[in-house]
Symmetry: C2
Subunit: 270 residues, 2 copies
């Protein structure tokens, strides 16, 4: 079991930022990654559909021997985490709570900013998570719908991206937040540009925080791989035109080991 | 039959630009519009999936009495038009060919530019269409992946949009094209910005050209509605957060008559 891989899934390839973070923190662990690119984006789907897809994604990883599952998709982690924990016997961790807990640790001023896609911000998932974690800080959300397409276009340091970031983040400067939570798989790639606008405040990268909590979870359950090779196998349900170029941007290294797969439909337990 | 509505479908709400164009040209016709927002975008799906979805969309419109079907989705029109014509007995028109034919009529210099999403450009669908229509002009394609999110964000005249357009369209200026085909439902809303960059050349709005060919088709088949009210009924398979605001941007008027619907699955004829 300790030699088994860690399973990570996302609706697309943005979750490879989580893979990158996990690899840095846990270099000996083997990772299998599933990107459900045939059905992305999950964010515009109904809750029932997101739950069903998330169960099928988890089943795929479990069938390949995953000892631990990480939900790298913000939509899935918002609506499906509890149900997946009930449906499967292996430990499961979502991308939302670790970032929330970290933001609460570092925030001093009582004002925490959260950026994400429209669904992430307007669904109120983050406000609920902060509340349930007992946060007393004021949570200020801002949706940044152009950030994902800008990252996928590869314009990480483009003047357009700086202009867009200035417009989106202006309200946070006025509100004097001291901590900004990057609530989307794509946003860590824009940190340099965001820092140019927001300056020297605390930045919490939810993708990286998942890695930290995953390492703690493996240790607590005695599931650490003593001698893995640190391999990464990538499975995608559809291969779009730019998937490799964009995927390598997230992963921070060449994508060597990837294949296209189909998912089996799976009934929920009664 | 002449009193029956025209059916128009798209994977999302961008096809409402086609509705707007049809209403202007055929003000007495009643229109039913289906946006398959639960399954958008079609562009990232497999050909088999797009065909299956397109058949279900058409069936929905036929079940509601459509006398003519317009495929306002570029991905559907690329891969599913011929099959839909075989599956259904009513006349069907796609969004691609009318724009191609119009561009061939107005182009003088022998160089035609086409802009669209990555799928539209890299699939080669436009090149094939121009070739099959007998075009001798050189066809220059450029994907503009940020245009759709910019329109959906509502930044139609924003300085960011001007900067993005300048970067995307620069190659066309160097190539001295004299005709630019707007090959995406969202792009007519950016025409003012595009014109600032490209100046006084020919612009072909594929959405509008579909309306023109539809009017000809109705007349030819004696299907014109002599006394319709010009009503528009909008059906969406999912209601996302900003659908109304964005939809009204495409439609150019308030969305009054809309409902959420589920599609029935449908087997293809053997």
């Amino acid at each position: 079991m300790r030699e088994s891989p860690i399973g990570i899934f996302d609706s697309g390839i943005g979750g490879l930022t989580v893979v990158k973070a996990v690899r840095q923190i846990l270099p000996k662990e083997d990772i299998i990654y599933l990107g459900d690119t045939a059905r992305l984006p999950y964010g515009s789907k109904s809750t029932e559909a997101i739950i069903q897809f998330s169960i099928e994604d988890t089943q795929f990883l479990v069938d390949r021997g995953a000892k631990y599952v990480v939900i790298a998709c913000y939509s899935s982690a918002s609506v499906a985490l509890d149900i997946i924990r009930k449906e499967f016997s292996i430990p499961v961790i979502g991308v939302i709570r670790p970032g929330v807990r970290r933001a609460m640790q570092v925030a001093k001023s009582g004002k925490i900013g959260v950026i994400g896609t429209s669904l992430t911000i307007y669904s109120g998932g983050y406000e609920k998570a902060f509340k349930e974690e007992g946060a007393e800080a004021e949570i200020l959300g801002k949706s940044c719908p152009l950030f994902v397409p800008l990252v996928e276009e590869g314009w990480l340091d483009h003047e357009v991206t700086t202009l867009v970031a200035r417009e989106y983040l202006e309200p946070f400067k006025k509100d004097n937040i001291d901590t900004l939570l990057l609530g989307c798989t794509h946003y860590p790639l824009l940190l340099r540009t965001i820092r140019k606008i927001m300056g020297n405040i605390n930045y919490v990268d939810a993708s990286a925080e998942v890695g930290t909590e995953l390492a703690q979870g493996l240790k607590k359950r005695d599931l650490q791989n003593p001698g893995g090779k640190g391999s990464t196998s990538i499975y995608l349900t559809d291969l779009s035109i730019n998937y490799k170029e964009i995927g390598e941007r997230f992963l921070g290294e060449p994508m060597k080991n990837f294949s296209r797969v189909s998912l089996k439909s799976r009934e929920m337990k009664k």
